[in-house]
């Protein structure tokens, strides 16, 4: 019984971490390239969930829901970056306030369109149920989340490490000015990264909508988690996002299971300790 508890909790933590990775990897990349603290990132997660919900209910297709959520919110991201945020290059506070403004507008629009009731994105039969393994039961949907995060993480790593576009992004993360100097179109790279980040968060929102549900307030609920992942892992670092997501997922799960009254504290206190030792996060450079 005892070991089963630990195994089940550890698996829950890892699968939650996988979901957080989808949300936070984009936030981290956006930060790395553009130095924007995007408080609307949680909104992409929530809106993605809602769009996915509507598409899933309308078309009965989970795959289409995933695609539609990611594409629609990717477009929202493009609009936000191209029309608004780009005007405020280098103005940290202005950008923050603007992303907050968008977050509030998205929250209210979602309430207006989808109402205040919580929903769950319907998941295909193939992904429901559990598999038993060595005496412990694992929900198939959570295994699916880990698999998606793994594939996305691998694809991101390959793209960043092995392709020309990835090299351009890495150059922009290291030094945007120099990257511009050697002929890289940094504004276009920024736009692409922003859209990718928004789409990944929305993908996370649709997938998360299958077991956490979609509801008003989900945006500001996941946002701090994404921030802690990025702070702990290091801004702009993919390995950092992996490590941060797993750490936060596990800490959150064990914190809630073992010390329910202090569960947020058990999440944020380790973050504070890591920051005290390494102010730029585990994998961050200055």
């Amino acid at each position: 019984m005892r070991t089963e508890f630990w195994i089940a909790q550890a698996f829950n933590g890892i699968s939650y971490g996988a979901l957080l990775f989808l949300l936070a990897s984009g936030l981290s990349l956006i930060f790395g390239v553009m130095r924007i603290v995007n408080l609307a990132h949680g909104s992409y997660f929530m809106l993605g969930g809602y769009v996915g919900l509507s598409v899933a209910l309308y078309t009965k297709s989970y795959t289409l829901a995933l695609l539609a959520g990611a594409v629609a919110i990717g477009l929202v991201g493009i609009g936000m970056e191209r029309l608004f945020l780009r005007r405020l290059r280098g103005e940290v506070l202005g950008q923050v306030l603007m992303t907050i403004g968008f977050a509030l507008i998205f929250q209210d629009l979602a309430l207006l369109i989808w109402g205040g009731d919580p929903y769950t994105v319907p998941i295909p039969k193939m992904l429901s149920g559990t598999v038993r393994f060595g005496g412990a039961a694992f929900p198939i949907y959570r295994i699916f989340i880990v698999a998606v995060a793994f594939v996305v993480g691998l694809a991101l790593w390959l793209a960043l490490d092995r392709t020309r576009a990835g090299a351009m992004i890495r150059a922009a993360v290291d030094d945007a000015e120099m990257a511009g100097g050697v002929g890289i179109n940094v504004p276009r790279v920024s736009l692409a990264v922003f859209a990718l980040g928004a789409a990944l968060a929305a993908l996370g929102g649709v997938i998360g909508g299958g077991f956490l549900g979609v509801y008003p307030g989900a945006d500001f609920e996941v946002l701090p988690y994404a921030f802690v992942v990025v702070i702990v892992g290091g801004l702009g670092s993919l390995p950092g996002a992996v490590a941060g997501s797993l750490l936060v997922g596990l800490l959150d799960n064990f914190g809630k299971a073992l010390f329910p009254e202090l569960s947020y504290f058990t999440l944020f206190a380790p973050m504070a300790i890591i920051l005290a030792i390494r102010p730029t996060g585990l994998f961050g450079r200055v």
Binding site: L97, M98, G101, L104, D108, L235, P260, A269, M271
Partner: protein, 306 residues
């Protein structure tokens, strides 16, 4: 300075005279604006004068408010005791958080203060045996000061007016002191001040802690004003709204933050009467302020005068 002090004294006198003749609802809003204005000014101390945009300022406000709520409902502690303990606890929280946050600058500072603010929110939300969790703590009684009962709206309004004036004067003295000038120098160029031999870290740290103390003061008043404290008072949206008030009024002006706070409080309450879409409008205000009035109200007025 003389002209500004005169202007402020006139504004105070007008508020003091207008108070008793105002209908109940506007008077309540005015009281609320004064309290939130103290919070906004405390953030301006960080943002406008020291160049540190905190995204977790509701934390110290919340600590002050919860301290009062718990002490009055569980132990019947009086006003002075509540003020002292509330401000002390908020200061202590800022002293701990400051150690972590001051190491970072710019965007890192924003993210760390956001996350630290969430620690306090998390405790308020989950530490049910102390804070009653999501239900919040209700039934905070209005205080008595030296035998004067501040229970009805008008005496309580005067109490808040005096509190806001005292806070404004103290912070005003702080920012024109050599210490305050040092802060402005650091905002302009940290490396220059370092080279000139200033202890940059200590300046920033002291500013951070003092700012937390004033935010805590606003929090203690808030608990008395509202009679109810809940995790909503500590949440991210509260921190962010405070940031908007400062940006709207004009960072680095103190009194501008008070104006910004007043504007948002009145706007919020009047708009909510007519429509449920308050958040939509508030979001629009954020974007509008950034696009059209990046230096805030006071900044725009000063620009015109030149």
């Amino acid at each position: 300075m003389g002209r500004r002090a005169l202007l402020a004294a006139a504004a105070l006198a007008v508020l003091a005279l207008v108070g008793p003749v105002l209908p109940a609802y506007p008077l309540t809003l005015l009281t609320q604006a004064l309290i939130v204005g103290i919070l906004a000014m405390s953030l301006d101390l960080l943002l406008g004068y020291s160049g540190m945009p905190s995204l977790g300022h509701a934390a110290y406000f919340g600590v002050g408010a919860y301290a009062v709520a718990i002490m009055t409902t569980e132990r019947q502690v009086g006003l002075i005791g509540c003020l002292v303990v509330g401000i002390l606890l908020a200061t202590l929280t800022a002293a701990v958080f400051g150690l972590l946050a001051i190491r970072a600058a710019g965007t890192y500072f924003l993210m760390i203060t956001l996350a630290l603010g969430m620690v306090v929110w998390g405790l308020a939300f989950r530490w049910v045996s102390l804070t009653k969790g999501d239900n919040g703590i209700s039934g905070v009684p209005r205080p008595t000061l030296l035998g004067l009962e501040l229970i009805t709206a008008v005496p309580f309004f005067y109490f808040c007016l005096v509190s806001a004036a005292v806070a404004w004067v103290l912070m005003g003295l702080l920012v024109v002191s050599p210490f305050g000038l040092g802060l402005r120098g650091i905002r302009g160029s940290e490396s220059r001040m370092q080279a000139l031999g200033y202890n940059v870290w200590l300046h920033k740290y002291v500013a951070f802690v003092l700012s937390g103390a004033f935010a805590g003061f606003a929090g203690t008043l808030w608990a008395y004003y509202n009679g109810f404290v809940s995790p909503n008072d500590v949440q991210l949206v509260t921190s962010v709204e405070t940031l908007l008030m400062v940006a709207l009024g004009g960072p680095g002006t103190l009194i501008g933050s008070m104006l910004g706070a007043g504007l948002i409080v009145f706007l919020k309450n009047f708009v909510s009467v007519y429509t449920k879409r308050w958040l939509l409008i508030l979001g629009g205000v954020y974007i509008g302020v950034i696009l059209f009035a990046p230096t805030g109200i006071v900044g725009a007025l000063r620009g015109r005068r030149r």
